[in-house]
């Protein structure tokens, strides 16, 4: 969770990670508005099309977050060389 960083390890948390909340707000928060059949969108009932649209948007949002994380060195396979950190104490990698 945010702000939860063991001493000595730089925070893995970035403000743009909050974008990951958008799908929740759009998909579920949008229900009162989107809960209708018409207009059909590409032949689908509006509700279905709305949810599908958010699924696609979610993939886009997560791709963008991954790009940012990669650029910031937050997304890598640290453990490519197996055993690099065997038996490491509680400090390693507990922040999210």
């Amino acid at each position: 969770m945010p702000g939860d960083t063991p001493v000595g390890e730089p925070s893995r948390w970035r403000r743009y990670h909050l974008l990951a909340l958008l799908p929740v707000l759009g998909m579920l928060g949008g229900l009162p508005f989107a809960n209708r059949v018409y207009p059909l969108v590409l032949g689908l009932p509006f509700l279905m099309a709305w949810l599908v649209g958010w699924v696609v948007a979610t993939a886009g949002i997560m791709a963008w977050i991954l790009r940012q994380d990669t650029a910031n060195g937050l997304a890598s396979d640290e453990a490519k060389g197996k055993g690099a950190e065997c038996g490491a104490g509680e400090g390693s990698g507990d922040s999210k």
């Binding site: 579920l28 699924v55 997560m62 507990d94």
Partner: protein, 482 residues
């Protein structure tokens, strides 16, 4: 009929053969058997993770719900998507912690985090309790698939027995490696079949999607939107939230996390899987096409709708192929579930009871638990009348109770005491049990509540009880200072 049976049989043999081949070159220690020696590359991890999408649950249950309930079935699309966004942040953290500590099961994780063997026992029991309805669901699905695809030549009971026997052989022989190979075959087949059915049927029966949905809306007003009461928006939101946080509290997904070579695969999966699971839409299309074409399947029978429509429309060899794909969707996830449950029973329950037992003994116990678990689930599958989706939601209610303790365990050490975490889980499970056994819902327990609260998924209530108890106990029992 003979054609479809022959196809079913062929694919069954292929699945077993792949399982045997996968075993070659690997000595089956418990770590190999249950987490593939932690050496799976991106593609295998992807396929194992994507396994949730193409189980009998979505294949039969998804189409069955679209057929019987309409729009509420769309919750499946939403909860999977949200689960993947959660996985982006959650899974690398779990993986990093598990690496180097030799963790094999989900309980191992909780034991290490809370430094408490008692925690491990409770988590193990919860895990197995949740896995059983999931296994029952797979066996039920197997029964439906084999009996429908054989045009009734094999009765559902015989089908369930032979399917269970197959599953046992398959799992005992090759463990999780068999799953990964067969998963590849399964995903390709199901992808093709589901898309073909979901495109062909609406056009064949109605001339297109727009025409199909217009016809459904005219015949069954309100079917394509969430109703005002019952499976309303409030049910939808609470169910999606509950199940999406619940996905990664399932012990088999925890174990799936351990199979990865590196952590970045989870982040990449979180980008790709939302799109990959859109294939579920085509399952819904098939279910919706069936609502007008094969009406009259009530309650749990709705799970049959996909096959009924297929038999009406396609030739026996096509039905055989659909059946074969369905067989694989039951075998692969079913084997994952069995492996996970058996590993928990052996490593986290048997080993705790008999601490001096050797690794070899624990491995043997794990494998001998496979038939025990499979037969117990078979018994329940033969004697319970619930629909597939209802079974899965029940499992979710049980397993999601681990979520608060999981999230609060992150950090350099857990944020709550073991006592608080344990009390929360136990209180949550008691709520789930009390409610499931009495068949109560918020509407019957508290008729004075506003409708929006009455429709909340009961699992959410159990989760709130869980969190309240954690908070209460935390007042008295602080986490140990270090």
């Amino acid at each position: 009929m003979t054609v479809s049976l022959a196809i079913l049989g062929t694919f069954f043999v292929i699945a077993i053969a792949l399982g045997l081949l996968a075993k070659r070159g690997h000595t089956m220690t418990l770590e190999q058997w249950s987490v593939g020696g932690r050496g799976f590359g991106s593609l295998f991890v992807f396929l194992l993770m994507a396994g949730e999408i193409y189980t009998t649950f979505t294949f039969l249950g998804g189409s069955g719900w679209a057929y019987g309930k309409g729009a509420p079935a769309l919750y499946i699309l939403c909860y999977l998507t949200l689960a993947y966004t959660i996985s982006y942040f959650l899974l690398p953290a779990i993986w990093r912690y598990a690496r180097g500590r030799g963790l094999v099961s989900q309980a191992d994780f909780f034991i290490a985090k809370y430094e408490s063997p008692a925690m491990g026992l409770v988590v193990s029991v919860v895990g197995v309790a949740a896995l059983v309805p999931y296994l029952v669901l797979q066996l039920k699905g197997l029964g439906i698939i084999v009996s429908e695809a054989s045009y009734g030549a094999i009765s559902p009971v015989t089908a369930m027995w032979s399917g269970t026997a197959a599953l046992i052989v398959y799992v005992v022989v090759s463990g999780v490696r068999g799953s990964a190979w067969t998963a590849t075959l399964k995903d390709i087949m199901i992808l093709v079949i589901v898309v073909v059915m979901g495109v062909y049927l609406p056009y064949h029966l109605h001339g297109g999607y727009g025409a199909m949905f217009t016809a459904i809306d005219a015949a069954k007003p309100g079917f394509l939107t969430l109703p005002a009461t019952g499976m309303s928006q409030s049910w939808f939101i609470s169910t999606v939230l509950l199940t999406s946080v619940g996905v990664y509290t399932w012990p088999q997904f925890f174990a799936g996390v351990y199979t990865a070579k590196g952590e970045n695969v989870f982040r990449k999966n979180a980008v790709v899987l939302p799109l990959y699971q859109l294939v579920v839409l085509f399952v819904f299309f098939t279910g919706f096409a069936a609502t007008l074409a094969v009406p009259g399947l009530i309650g749990a029978e709705a799970d049959l709708s996909l096959f009924r429509l297929a038999k009406m429309t396609f030739s026996p060899w096509a039905v055989g192929m659909i059946g074969a794909a369905g067989l694989l969707t039951a075998l692969v996830p079913g084997s994952m579930l069995l492996i996970t449950a058996a590993t928990i029973l052996a490593k986290n329950i048997f080993r705790v009871a008999v601490p001096q037992s050797s690794d070899r003994t624990v491995g043997i116990v794990a494998r001998s638990m496979v038939p025990v678990l499979a037969l117990a689930s078979l018994y329940l599958a033969l004697h319970g009348g619930q629909a597939i989706v209802a079974l899965l939601l029940m499992g979710y209610n049980v397993v999601t109770q681990l979520f608060p303790a999981l999230v609060l365990s992150f950090g350099d050490r857990p944020r709550i005491s073991t006592a608080a975490a344990l009390s929360g889980i136990i209180a949550g499970e008691f709520t789930v049990a009390a409610v499931s056994l009495s068949g109560a819902s918020l509407a019957t327990l508290a008729p004075w509540l506003p409708q929006i609260a009455k429709d909340l998924n009961i699992g959410v209530v159990a989760l709130l009880v869980n969190i309240a108890v954690i908070a209460l106990v935390s007042v008295f029992v602080r986490r140990p200072s270090r």
